[in-house]
């Protein structure tokens, strides 16, 4: 009987799509463009070794111990100073340290969303966000995108027609999966709509600092006059994902409530990793390191787009992101990227990407693929994408 109860309960757990992708990433035989992996050869290992040495040998009594659930106060202050300097004014009490920004998705949904309430996202959107929101059983409404991001006029039409969102989730900068950035005008329009129609916004800025060209539009949080934006940031893409450190920026009352949910969920982040990140910002040049990443990823992005143009049929288009880790390929409507990956890409070219259908909150389109250009080296980008392009050409010729 218990087993039956349990089996029924387990039906509610969502398919492990991201987990499967991470497993692809761990198979050395495969050239995977599926993950959102940063380039492991660019991790600042000498500097990280330095800060862990200091944290353990000089401060171990504190850094190996429990600490407060909101996170290391010194790190919170540093992140507030950094956000303020980069155009999003805030103070220590506006920062909560998280187990990666993924934890922010989980805790914010827990705090705000009851079953049946509406969560608006870009369409397509980040799969990990859907997985985090799903246990709260929201109803999803996806808003289409163009090359300025979420089409806020479409959102406004739906709001006028009676849509009542509880929460809107967006990745305004180099969106996952499309790579597209929301324009400044759209950001202002979205904030005006949030004010008028009274919904909260969850702004995911995991990629924002990886900008390769052009000026950054303002964050939604910096345009937020009435505490309706919760902004998420992360060390995963600018330092190392293995530390599992992200943060939320929001009003002090929201941060306090998220802190209580954090306490219930896992007590706190690793004291040691928080101390190491804090020491890194103090003793080393995080901004300089990010410059190095930008240059390397711009080169890889250029190579990736060259490979698509050279090896793929002309009917296949890709976005040209101003930053971030992904380009979004669009195939003719009759081309199913899931089937193609299973039957051809994985088996014949030993190449993986993420079939685009996974990223749609509703009404998934079959003919897209998310391709990561940060994780593989130049030779693998050339080898993998030329093999993939040749296979695509073969298959499309049969259509």
């Amino acid at each position: 009987m218990a087993t039956l109860q349990l089996a029924q309960r387990m039906e509610n757990v969502q398919p492990n799509a991201i987990g499967e992708l991470l497993k692809f990433g761990a198979d050395p035989a495969l050239i995977s463009f599926a993950g959102g992996y940063p380039d492991g050869t660019l991790f600042p290992v000498e500097q990280l070794n330095d800060v862990y040495r200091v944290a353990i040998l000089e401060q171990g009594k504190q850094t190996l111990q429990y600490t407060v659930s909101d996170g290391d106060p010194k790190l919170r202050a540093q992140l507030a100073e950094r956000a303020t300097r980069k155009g999003t004014p805030c103070a220590l009490e506006n920062i909560l340290i998280l187990q990666g920004s993924q934890q922010g998705l989980d805790l914010v949904a827990k705090m705000l969303v009851d079953p049946g309430e509406i969560v608006v996202t870009e369409s397509p959107t980040f799969l990990g966000a859907l997985i985090a929101f799903n246990p709260c059983q929201p109803r999803y409404v996806g808003i289409p995108m163009d090359d300025e991001g979420m089409i806020t006029d479409v959102l406004e039409e739906q709001l006028k027609a009676g849509l009542k969102p509880k929460l809107l989730y967006t990745i305004p900068d180099f969106q996952n999966p499309t790579g597209v950035t929301m324009s400044a005008a759209r950001r202002k329009h979205l904030m005006a709509l949030a004010h008028k129609y009274d919904f909260m916004i969850l702004e995911d800025t995991a990629y924002r600092e990886l900008r390769y060209r052009g000026e950054a539009p303002p964050t939604l949080k910096s345009l937020d006059d009435d505490d309706r934006v919760i902004m998420l940031g992360s060390f995963s893409k600018i330092l190392a994902p293995g530390l599992r450190l992200g943060w939320a920026i929001a009003s002090a009352p929201i941060i306090q409530k998220l802190g209580l949910l954090k306490l219930a969920a896992d007590t706190q982040c690793s004291t040691l990793n928080m101390a190491a990140a804090s020491l890194f910002m103090e003793r080393h040049d995080l901004d300089g390191h990010i410059e190095t990443l930008r240059a390397a990823y711009l080169r890889k992005k250029t190579l990736m787009l060259d490979m698509v143009r050279q090896h793929f049929p002309q009917e296949v288009t890709c976005t040209d992101p101003e930053g971030g880790l992904f380009t979004w390929l669009t195939f003719p409507k009759s081309f199913d990227t899931t089937q193609f990956m299973r039957d051809h890409a994985l088996t014949k070219a030993k190449v993986a990407y993420v079939p685009g259908v996974s990223f749609f909150p509703v009404d998934g389109e079959p003919n897209h693929a998310r391709v990561n250009f940060s994780g593989q080296n130049d030779a693998m980008i050339v080898k993998g994408m030329s093999a993939l392009g040749a296979l695509v050409k073969q298959e499309m010729a049969k259509l």
Copy 2:
């Protein structure tokens, strides 16, 4: 309007009792026996520095990167081998790495407990478990304890009378807060009841390896014939809480489902910390380190109990735990330990403990206190407990 919605929603978040305790622990002016802090002077800093150096400099491309959500397979295998060696047979697929065992409390409740369903606990029980379970809105049933742990005859009576638990949560070894260990006979009785009345058991073994005298009774997991026990373990008390690493041991299907919930909640634990823990078990002597902890904590426990006997009125009793970090003081029924702490202990003696009332799932008794003996040094134990005892004597004389 959004602010109002948010305010109403936030009412559901539980008071930050553990968070407040951790803040006490961070105030250097206070002698706190409130936390569950291990002794920071015993952290193996040289060995930890060694394993972090190796993990970062020699394996950084992997250890600073993302990994699979279930956790480092090498660490999972090591933990399975270790559990098997210590009497709880299991394999890699039975292990999930967690962000401390606290995360196990959250994920297991999410997986199993719907609003209104019954969770049975010892009465009193671990506050952090109640905080983790509360968002699932269970109904709590507390079973009283004696010096053999949960009185399973009382549980059986209630089951016969129609009680239908979904989950039973227990800390069989050196229970938090009482320090009491469940006898082997009670463990067998509990397993028979779980089988007959069909409920799941969550067995929290965070303190189990810190045994100071006597033989360990078998774990509930080792008595589990039909996959109804989920056992939680932790590195926090045997290595360092600052790493935030724990694990669950359960049947492979349960581990898979918990892994999906883990993925949604925070993607994975810190790859670096998992690698460091794995290297520690490989390159250093974890069992030898635990022997050092056992000797030190036995000395502190003996000192703590001596202090209670010397400085407190005879009417105040304390448990004499066979291991773990806590003793449980019981005062006369009219003595309110919360009031006393607020009005006297904190202000006059600058001493903190945890008022016992917080630990009762229902019907809290006012006249207990949880006192930790691992976190403070000998001098502070003498100073704090003699000051506290003198104040208690003064106040009890007035009753």
